[in-house]
């Protein structure tokens, strides 16, 4: 490698921070939208989902990066999905064994990580083109960005819909829970309003 030490670490830190905000999968790229809408009725399942995605993302990025020279163009997608499916199976069995309650709440959404666009997108855009270290850092950055987005959304919905946060009561007793936020409509509208807020803030910053 001809790159000097300084630019290598620059490359690493860039791989790490891209996913946190500039290319945040949920808030900026709007990909992999199924878990942010489906599992964010409370913070706990959202966090579990986020950690599962981080695990799968890091492992699949690493494996895809290691086999990047063996990939055939027309078999690429199937190779990615089989790799991802392997790690999702590991993750699913782990949750079933050690977090049975969470596994029940998340249900089919854990195996559905296999077809989460974020993971395939990162395998295609980053891991199949770069070395293992960059791929792992990219996986961590994207995964954490995704988890934070999930927790913000889940936090808003949990506090307003039940008055609890992480199962601890935070709202005064007089607070009337907004039950609508627990329903599917709450997921769409809350995410829409958060995106609107981000829109306004970025525009104000630009001007």
């Amino acid at each position: 490698m001809s790159a000097s030490n300084g630019s290598t670490s620059g490359l690493y830190s860039k791989a790490l921070v891209t996913g946190l905000w500039r290319e945040n999968p949920t808030f900026r790229l709007m990909i992999g939208m199924c878990p942010p809408l489906a599992v964010t009725t409370a913070v706990k399942p959202a966090l579990t989902m986020g950690l599962s995605v981080i695990f799968v993302l890091i492992c699949s990025n690493l494996v895809v990066s290691l086999m990047r020279n063996l990939l055939k163009p027309h078999l690429r997608i199937i190779m990615f999905t089989v790799t991802i499916a392997t790690f999702v199976t590991i993750c699913d069995l782990f949750l079933k064994a050690y977090q049975p309650k969470m596994s029940e709440i998340l249900g089919a959404y854990v195996p559905l990580i296999i077809v989460n666009c974020i993971i395939i997108f990162r395998a295609e855009a980053c891991a199949s083109k770069s070395g293992p270290v960059v791929s792992i850092l990219d996986g961590i950055g994207m995964g954490v960005g995704f988890t934070v987005a999930l927790c913000i959304l889940a936090g808003v919905r949990e506090i307003l819909a039940t008055g609890h946060f992480f199962d601890v009561r935070v709202m005064p007793n007089a607070f009337v829970p907004w039950l609508a936020l627990q329903m599917p409509v709450g997921a769409f509208v809350t995410l829409g309003l958060i995106l609107a807020l981000i829109n306004v803030l970025t525009r104000r910053k630009e001007s």
Binding site: L112, M183, P184, G186, F188, G192, L193
Partner: protein, 196 residues
């Protein structure tokens, strides 16, 4: 007759009441990203319906007749993915051979159908719902695909209108789409009482 009623109810349930897009958030990527053109949305919906019906049925058969008797449930997800990829490949080859113009119109969307969550979703939910005969599996997986088609066609029609309307500055782009989707969900909740 009773069996027929049960099948019809199951079908209506996945098209309207338990619509995958509105209640399970599956397939939201194409749903939110669909362009404001109904003909494209309809074509996409048809392709997804076909693949859903095919792979839902195939995975049910593999699951019930191969994986469960052999106690290979651990390999379930990998099998599902391979079957879906195979079904998509089949559809792609068929469309390319017999409908070349449609093939060009779909472009990259066709291979990407294999990563559409609706399809893996139906394979998984057939198991969750405890579907126990082949006919039921066929009807429910076809219904799911039709439900998806209904959802994206409605969305495409609304986006067509939305392009001409005066949206508040803050809501432009993704936010208004999500809020529209939320209101549609609310409308579809009206079907909830239809089936016990």
């Amino acid at each position: 007759m009773d069996r027929f009623t049960a099948l019809l109810m199951g079908f209506l349930s996945v098209v309207l009441v338990n619509n995958f897009v509105f209640t399970k958030f599956l397939g939201t990527c194409p749903y939110l990203g669909v362009s404001g053109r109904i003909d494209r949305a309809f074509g996409m919906g048809l392709a997804v319906t076909f693949v859903t019906a095919l792979s839902g049925t195939l995975t049910w058969m593999v699951d019930a007749w191969v994986l469960t008797p052999l106690h290979l449930e651990i390999a379930r997800y990998i099998c599902y993915i391979v079957i879906i990829a195979g079904a998509v490949q089949l559809v792609e080859m068929y469309v390319r051979k017999f409908f070349p113009s449609l093939y060009d119109a779909f472009g990259i969307f066709l291979p990407l159908i294999s990563t559409n969550c609706v399809i893996l979703g139906i394979c998984l939910f057939l198991d969750v719902w405890g579907t126990n005969n082949l006919l039921e599996a066929v009807v429910i997986s076809t219904g799911t695909g039709i439900g998806f088609t209904v959802a994206i066609c409605i969305m495409a029609a609304i986006r067509e209108e939305l392009a001409l309307s005066d949206v508040p500055e803050a809501l432009q782009g993704a936010p208004i789409t999500l809020i529209t989707a939320g209101l549609l969900t609310l409308a579809f909740m009206g079907f909830a009482g239809m089936i016990k």
